[in-house]
């Protein structure tokens, strides 16, 4: 196979970071090439450069041996490069066909010709087995179908190189298999596919070659046939670790958080949590697994009263807190580490000291005024206790690295001393070092007897930390399994909505003590 595209010595700087440091990447015609690396390794930046979204500081890109310039996505599109971004680039109020022809010049000159475009789109979707209604509004389509729209957009433009950034994050295992089948077919057409991912299994499953990036540099390129998951992990992480959390034994105590038949809706009135029940005990981590968008966020928000509860009950330490306000709720025993660190969990424009009291601003008060001395003291304590590195508590919280910011939020929520801790995607986007310390802190909180509800899309995280794992699918709990005995396959099936024989069926009958307390 011949080399189709070549990126040489690409350098790209961002504030305080060299995102790509002399990166080389070669893509052959008709191959599926995986770009592997941890969050922040520079994969997405590299692909944004290839798509003309970012300019590079130095380096060159060659296609079929000729040097090319990519000043904007327009140049990339003209050269047959297409990209499906991690966040879909779709205009929600537009129809599928409008999204498809957006930015294209063809047909009746300056006039839109949606009919002809619809016909062509229909033809393409039939040929590739991607069922789709061209006249549907994109905003009303499920995520999986939106991805189909994105792929069809590229095919409509007859792209010869397709870049997919983390395409499986929003898919069930079954949808993922479908996607891979499509990609293989595209490969047979002679097109090249780059998939950006940090999931090893997917690479072994569908890629021909893999390039591993770490800290903005390329570590290695391998034929997938000749490598192993073990080798790839080592290349990706840079040391031979298998991230493992050592979790001391602990007998869970009484049920602290009880959720009964909870119903929650999203903004558009669709039911996202449909009669969900669960219990978390003191000194226990209950993991909640599931593909993003199956009601996990809504569950967390409803527990904190950030979202209206349509039905059911939330009980903390025997007291019904269903109808309390957020402020009463926070005072009354639930802490929350939200998934969105920079927009919900903290205020980046304010100082570390001010962020350290977020949610407790009415506690640090002397008379009518804020007790700034006390607030500063507690911020100092927080940064010392959780090892938050930065240039002091007066610096803007936005200048902290992701890991340190997460420690600030997690520490704040742990120290406020509530009995229940709800944690959502605590390590998303963090580097390995930060992941380790966040895990340690969660285990420590468990040892201190907190009841922890851990919502995560990373199965690895759940298997390491949780005592029990509840799998959510379309707003319901498919089953709860003991983390030690759990198999990835069983959890995967439940994530896809299939209840395997033998898995503990819980539903609303979670009354008895959890089975997995002795590890």
């Amino acid at each position: 196979m011949k080399d189709f595209l070549e990126m040489r010595n690409i350098v790209k700087r961002f504030p305080g970071v060299v995102a790509n440091n002399r990166v080389n990447l070669t893509i052959r015609a008709g191959e599926i090439h995986a770009l592997l690396g941890e969050n922040g390794a520079g994969k997405s930046t590299l692909m944004q450069i290839l798509y003309g979204f970012h300019s590079m500081d130095s380096g060159e890109i060659r296609m079929d041996g000729k040097q090319i310039r990519l000043d904007s996505p327009k140049d990339a599109i003209a050269l047959g490069i297409g990209m499906v971004h991690q966040e879909f680039m779709l205009v929600r109020p537009f129809t599928v066909v409008e999204n498809t022809v957006l930015g294209m010049r063809e047909g009746r000159g300056p006039l839109l010709d949606l009919e002809q475009a619809s016909r062509k789109l229909q033809e393409l979707s039939n040929r590739h087995g991607l069922a789709l209604d061209p006249a549907a509004r994109v905003g009303s389509l499920p995520i999986g179908v939106q991805q189909r729209v994105e792929i069809l957009k590229l095919l409509y433009r007859d792209a010869s190189l397709l870049i997919l950034d983390e395409p499986t994050a929003v898919l069930t295992p079954q949808e993922k298999d479908q996607l891979f089948a499509i990609l293989r077919k595209l490969k047979q057409d002679g097109r090249s596919v780059v998939i950006v991912t940090h999931k090893l299994k997917e690479i072994m499953e569908c890629a021909d070659r893999v390039t591993v990036m770490r800290d903005g540099q390329v570590v290695a390129t391998r034929e997938v046939r000749e490598t192993s998951e073990h080798e790839l992990t080592r290349l990706m992480v840079g040391r031979d670790v298998n991230l493992r959390a050592i979790k001391p034994e602990r007998k869970p105590g009484a049920a602290v958080l009880q959720v009964k038949d909870l119903r929650v809706e999203d903004e558009s009135g669709r039911e996202k949590v449909c009669g969900l029940s669960l219990e978390v005990h003191a000194g226990e981590i209950l993991g909640v697994a599931g593909v993003d968008g199956n009601g996990q966020s809504e569950l967390a928000e409803a527990l904190l009263h950030l979202r209206r509860i349509e039905g059911g009950q939330v009980i903390v330490n025997g007291a019904d807190v269903t109808s309390r306000s957020v402020a009463e709720h926070r005072a009354g025993g639930i802490s929350y580490v939200p998934a969105d660190r920079r927009r919900v969990g903290s205020v980046p424009e304010m100082s570390v000291a001010d962020n350290a009291i977020l949610g407790q601003q009415r506690k640090y008060v002397r008379g009518l005024f804020r007790d700034l001395d006390e607030a500063r003291k507690s911020a100092e304590k927080l940064t010392a206790r959780f090892g938050i590195r930065g240039s002091g508590i007066d610096q803007g919280a936005g200048k902290l690295s992701g890991g340190n910011l997460q420690k600030l939020i997690l520490g704040r929520e742990i120290l406020r001393g509530s009995a229940v801790l709800v944690v959502e995607q605590p390590t998303r986007g963090l580097d390995v070092g930060a992941v380790e310390s966040v895990w340690q802190e969660l285990i420590r909180a468990r040892q201190e007897g907190k009841a922890i509800l851990l919502i995560s899309a990373e199965l690895d995280e759940l298997l390491n930390l949780a005592d029990r794992i509840a799998v959510m699918f379309e707003g319901r709990i498919m089953g709860i399994v003991d983390a030690v005995a759990a198999s990835v396959e069983v959890i995967g099936l439940m994530m896809a909505g299939i209840r395997p024989a033998g898995a503990a069926n819980t539903g609303a009958t979670m009354k008895e003590a959890p089975s997995g307390e002795t590890v």
């Binding site: 979204f53 996505p73 003209a78 680039m89 779709l90 205009v91 022809v101 957006l102």
Partner: protein, 314 residues
């Protein structure tokens, strides 16, 4: 024809004629603003732009007497002024509301300085040649509707035509699709190869042309002279009309007529000696706009998702 019914029909004719006459300039400004807002720019500066357009058309008409050249001067002045605004909005990515508001103050300063410099301190405002109502023969004789619909100036018919053209461009062309995408989801537009900056410059410049021409309309077809208070909030009314018309040029035309009708009702009632306080009627268009934006009736207007959100590719 007996007395009361004659008075009534005279009242209706004056009222409706004035409604359409008053709707013209704000509709023109609103049409331009629709393009700006669809591309993601809230151009509050159209108030000041209208004033500059009015000044330009007045001066050109005063010195040259060429009425069409005056109108073109108004359009060009609007475009030039909004080139600066577009630079602030798109290139500098300054706060759109703040830049627009301060620009309005700036425009007042420029307009009154230039006017005084050009005209001296003469006490009497100078007046100029104006567009006259067409009075299409035959058609004007249709009772009530005739004089109302066919007794307007050519600028009014041109404005209606522009509303149709604006609708066609926004919703039936590739350009319109690209422009709307820039206002809904600039990242998606950019990823489809569209230059969001170019679209937003275009939207802002079109709104400049519309507002400048609206200023010319005020001078050349309604007032016949220039004074600093000639615009007095009509640019802001146009912003309301855009929302009332749900970012659709044809609906904006209807909205503009409603506003014109409120405004004209006050004039007509005064002429016919009514005792309703004129201020209540003067305030009516503003109150209607407030209610329309609040979403108290007719459901809430959903604005372009990225309106007022600066876009930076990196």
């Amino acid at each position: 024809m007996n007395g009361p019914s004659f008075v009534l029909s005279a009242f209706v004719v004056t009222w409706l004629t004035a409604s359409l006459r008053l709707a013209g300039p704000v509709l023109l400004a609103a049409l331009g603003e629709t393009f700006a807002e669809q591309s993601g720019v809230l151009n509050v500066g159209i108030e000041g732009t209208m004033l500059l357009g009015a000044l330009a058309s007045f001066l050109v008409s005063f010195y040259s007497g060429m009425i069409w050249a005056s109108l073109i001067a108004a359009v060009l002045a609007g475009i030039a002024a909004n080139l600066f605004l577009a630079w602030m909005y798109v290139t500098i990515r300054a706060n759109q509301v703040v830049s627009g508001l301060v620009f309005n103050v700036f425009a007042v300063g420029v307009a009154s300085t230039v006017y005084r410099k050009a005209m001296g301190d003469s006490a009497l405002p100078e007046s100029i040649a104006m567009f006259q109502p067409l009075h299409i023969p035959g058609l004007t004789r249709i009772p009530i509707l005739g004089p109302v619909l066919f007794g307007q100036t050519i600028l009014f018919y041109a404005t209606l035509l522009l509303a149709c053209i604006a609708y066609f461009i926004l919703f039936k062309t590739n350009l319109g699709l690209a422009l709307r995408a820039s206002g809904e989801n600039p990242a998606a537009a950019a990823s489809a190869g569209i230059s969001v900056a170019r679209m937003r410059y275009l939207g802002t410049l079109i709104s400049g042309a519309g507002a400048g021409m609206a200023g010319g309309y005020l001078v050349l077809a309604q007032v016949g002279l220039f004074r600093e208070s000639i615009v007095s909030g009509q640019g802001f009314i146009a912003l309301g009309i855009v929302i009332f018309g749900r970012w659709n040029p044809l609906k904006a035309a209807v909205a503009a007529m409603v506003f014109g009708a409120c405004d004209a009702l006050q004039l007509s009632l005064q002429i016919f000696g009514s005792h309703v306080p004129s201020q209540l009627l003067l305030a009516l268009p503003y109150i209607v706009t407030i209610l329309a934006i609040s979403g108290l009736f007719g459901g809430k207007a959903v604005q372009p998702a990225a309106l007022m959100v600066p876009y930076d590719r990196e």
